[in-house]
């Protein structure tokens, strides 16, 4: 824990004490505005680690470079040095990675681990609040089962960070959360420190099917759009109320605090630029409509997810600085997923837009490198030139950018979190596996050391407690 965090905890606990004490004098103090504490703050703490030097690996930096003959030094959870000559600070563990490859930890921007866990059954399927087309008030993190064995399987696939999203049944599905992939006893202890929240929105077939079948709006794509716009109009009014309140306070007046509304609070935070919009949207024309809605209400769409038709509007995505998160070749499960192109990611990338490979799958998340390899193969075969050093960005730095954490992680650069995967071969070979995974400089997985193969509570007593399922 760093000093700031300690101070924060002291401050918060003092505040609690004061508030508790104040409660008895409630009547006297009632005029004073009550400051709302941050809800569900991250309590994530990096695992203590000794310095590590990794030598002789082939390195894909995540910034587009491939390096060899270079060593990486990780100290206190950060990448301290990437250089030809690195002196051992003394206590460092030295790993000779001859023949092995080093990449940033992989990042999946679209996951439902914990909210749709394994085993999957009605009692723990908690990813969709199917009761209203606008459930911006719900937060995916409150559904996360931290003992979902899918977290540790994803870790064995080199995934160090993931965004857990609500499902796509609603126009506004709720808040998503970015987690460090270290299963903990509480979800707060997995929350990526400082990562912004996201808002899951959904276009197309899912919302109109779910509600249309109940003879309720939206029953069509046009009602989807009316639904988004009506909600943003309300959110603008709500935001204005609070802005006026703040202004009056600043003038020294004593205004009544407007009543909080969890749904509108999330939308208002989007309008203020504090929450990032992640928008499930398959079809080209729908993405273009969503971009116009964002302009009308002056918010930003960070990324379209499942953007099967992104290649059709790649120039529009580039122009509007919107990322597209895509699959390799999933298609056909819905009509809006019918126009699959195997080179989609490479085409979006070639148009200068931010391209991301996402999985939305507890199996896919274990093989993000393989999903990327298939795209590299398809693209190079049909004349797009994609190098491994460039393609790794689709599952590292570009993904970090979409989550608003690109300053902290997503590439091997000095000063960044030491979220690192050492592969036992070329990461784009089907035969290669993540041999060691580091999160904030601490080794959290080792292919050859059972003591570093984590098992969730669920695994114990059901499988070999030493992680035999892997």
């Amino acid at each position: 824990m760093n000093f700031d965090e300690i101070l924060k905890i002291i401050f918060l606990s003092t505040l609690c004490f004061i508030l508790a004490a104040c409660a008895t004098q409630e009547e006297k103090e009632e005029d004073k505005p009550v400051t709302t504490a941050e809800a569900f703050p991250s309590t994530y703490q990096a695992i203590a680690s000794q310095p590590v030097i990794i030598r002789n690996a082939t390195i894909l930096t995540g910034t587009g470079e491939q390096l060899s003959g270079v060593s990486v030094l990780m100290v206190n959870g950060r990448i301290q040095s990437i250089d030809r000559q690195i002196a051992n600070p003394g206590s460092a563990k030295i790993i000779d990675a001859t023949g092995k490859w080093l990449t940033p930890g992989l990042i999946d921007v679209h996951s439902h681990l914990g909210v749709y866990p394994s085993p999957s059954h009605e009692a723990n399927a908690d990813g969709n609040e199917l009761t209203n087309p606008n459930t911006a008030e719900v937060w995916a993190e409150h559904s996360v089962w931290t003992q979902d064995p899918q977290f540790t399987l994803a870790l064995a696939g080199g995934v160090t960070t993931l965004q857990v999203l609500p499902g796509s049944a609603n126009l506004f599905g709720g808040r998503g959360i970015t987690l460090k992939n270290i299963p903990a006893r509480t979800v707060q202890a997995m929350k990526f420190p400082g990562a912004p929240y996201s808002l899951k929105m959904a276009c197309g077939e899912n919302p109109k099917r779910v509600y249309g079948e109940r003879n309720q709006a939206p029953g069509s794509r046009m009602a989807n759009v009316a639904g988004y716009r009506s909600a943003w109009i309300e959110a603008k009014a709500y935001l204005k109320k609070f802005e006026e309140y703040e202004e009056e306070l600043a003038k020294g007046e004593e205004p009544d605090e407007p009543e909080r509304n969890l749904q509108l609070e999330t939308l208002a935070e989007v309008l203020k630029g504090n929450i990032l919009v992640h928008n499930h949207c398959y079809r080209g024309e729908e993405m273009a409509v969503m971009i116009d809605i964002a302009k009308e209400f002056n918010y930003k769409i960070t990324a379209f997810h499942h953007a099967v038709e992104a290649y059709k509007i790649a120039d529009i995505l580039a122009e509007n600085n919107v990322c597209a998160a895509m699959w390799s070749e999933w298609w056909g499960f819905k009509h809006e997923a019918f126009d699959m192109v195997e080179e989609n990611v490479a085409m979006v990338d070639a148009a200068g837009a931010c391209a991301i490979v996402h999985t939305d799958s507890p199996i896919g998340i274990q093989h993000m490198n393989q999903e990327t390899a298939k795209i590299i193969a398809a693209a190079n075969k049909s004349g797009f030139k994609v190098s491994p050093a460039h393609a790794i960005k689709w599952i590292t730095l570009n993904a970090a950018q979409a989550l608003g954490i690109e300053e902290q992680t997503g590439s091997l650069e000095v000063g960044k979190m030491a979220d690192v995967v050492l592969w036992d071969g070329d990461p784009f070979s089907v035969y290669s596996r993540a041999e060691m995974v580091f999160i904030d400089g601490a080794q959290v997985f080792d292919l050859n050391d059972r003591s570093l193969q984590p098992a969730t509570d669920f695994d114990l007593g059901i499988l070999d407690p030493e992680g035999e399922r892997l």
């Binding site: 120039d315 056909g332 195997e342 784009f428 035969y431 399922r469």
Partner: protein, 423 residues
């Protein structure tokens, strides 16, 4: 008359196609026969068949020559558990024929009449080297799903080359639901069906005359089960839990059935018993989730463990309805987790051919066999490798699909031709 002319033209066109002679030169051949892998050789294809394999071959003068220097050839890939041609778009019900809820049918439900050879899934899968598939029904209401068809993904002629190659069924939690809430009831239902089929076989005249007690299945369903109880038609059972697999092995012994396990998440736990009973497993090596309480023991190295115990393996890809060609990725992952690569290739070629009894024509590169071949631009199991050329029934397959045509249409967004005229 019009029809006659049309048929005549068809005959000409197809005989031309079949008459095409092809020589693949300078290639590494994974024969999947006892000849193993042969380097720097040639394959000569005549009339849809493999005519000869060897370094120096005499060929007809108009033979199409393919120089495959540095490339590798395998037999066409076979996936024995797909929904090809019976599903176009998952969420568009009118295009989905996978299962029936009609209680009139169980074992007599045959998927063949639903198969659509014009499905857009087929060209895509062909370009990735899939040349043959079993199209299997799923269970809508009964432990028996019905009869599956064998489909040869050639471009001409009838693709359905066996309209009833196997009976599919289900056991475990989901079968229990179909049988009133318990897997024990599903077991009883299955066992009674076999007992009644035997009774039907022995007394069919009386049963047909109506001069017999009521049996547990209608006559058409009993009739469909006859080859299963006689052991001539494989019974492919979707089952995962180890205890359920053991139960099925008992049933196999009691009725002398020809059982194949599909799914088999916990099959590795009973690998020795499966090997002793000579029961093969259709496995997706990538499906390692404890996705439900029947599958808690799923693991990535299951293929390797089963192989070491002597169980014959076939691979499939369980997470995709539209891309059964991804069986190749499943095979590669099995190798990454300990399976020898020769075995992984066999599990997509000669093993399914042998197990489903079509190895006289398919599954390996040998003289006299049907010319279903894939030329790969690298290691056939690697994901960075692509199919360079696909030959089915001796015919070169155009490497075109809806996907590739959409790619070409949108390749250059600045093209001055409005996109709807780019084809």
């Amino acid at each position: 008359m019009k029809q006659i002319i049309y048929s005549f033209l068809l005959l000409i066109c197809c005989s031309v196609i079949h008459g095409q002679e092809i020589l693949i030169q300078n290639v590494t051949v994974h024969t999947q026969s006892d000849k193993g892998t042969i380097e720097n050789t040639s394959i000569y294809i005549v009339d849809g068949q493999i005519e000869a394999i060897g370094a120096r071959l005499d060929v007809a003068s108009d033979t199409k020559i393919i120089d495959a220097t540095g490339l590798q050839v395998t037999p066409g890939l076979i996936n024995p558990y797909t929904a090809l041609g019976i599903i176009e778009i998952g969420a568009v019900r009118s295009t989905v024929d996978v299962e029936t809820d009609d209680e009139m049918f169980s074992t007599s439900y045959n998927i063949a009449p639903a198969f659509n050879p014009a499905s857009s899934l087929i060209p895509l899968n062909r370009t990735h080297g899939l040349t043959m598939a079993i199209v299997a029904p799923d269970s809508g209401h009964h432990v028996f799903a019905g009869q599956a068809a064998l489909v040869h993904l050639r471009r001409s002629g009838d693709l359905l080359i066996d309209r009833s190659i196997a009976m599919f069924a289900r056991f475990g939690a989901r079968a229990g639901r179909f049988a009133g809430g318990s897997r024990a009831a599903a077991y009883a239902k299955m066992r009674h069906a076999f007992l009644d089929t035997k009774e039907y076989v022995e007394n069919s005249d009386a049963v047909m005359r109506g001069n017999w007690r009521d049996l547990s299945l209608p006559k058409h369903d009993l009739e469909a089960l006859v080859p299963v109880v006689e052991g001539t038609k494989p019974l492919v059972i979707d089952v995962h839990r180890a205890s359920d697999i053991r139960t099925l092995l008992e049933l196999k012994k009691e009725f002398n059935l020809n059982i194949i396990i599909v799914g088999g998440a916990e099959a590795w736990m009973v690998a020795d018993e499966l090997a002793a009973e000579n029961v093969p497993v259709i496995l997706d090596p990538m499906y390692n989730l404890p996705g439900n309480f029947d599958r808690l023991g799923a693991r990535m190295d299951a293929a390797s463990l089963l192989h070491r115990a002597g169980v014959k393996l076939i691979f499939t890809a369980l997470t995709t309805s539209h891309n059964p060609f991804l069986v190749r990725q499943s095979a590669g992952n099995a190798v990454a987790h300990g399976l020898p690569s020769t075995e992984a290739l066999m599990a997509m070629t000669i093993n399914p051919a042998e197990i489903f009894g079509i190895d006289d024509r398919f599954g390996s590169i040998e003289e006299g066999k049907v010319a279903d071949l894939v030329i790969w631009d690298g290691d056939p199991l690697e994901l960075l490798t692509r199919a360079e050329t696909v030959i089915i029934n001796g015919e070169l397959i155009p490497m075109v699909s809806r996907s590739s045509r959409l790619r070409e249409r949108y390749r250059n967004l600045n093209d001055s031709t409005p996109y709807i005229y780019r084809k």
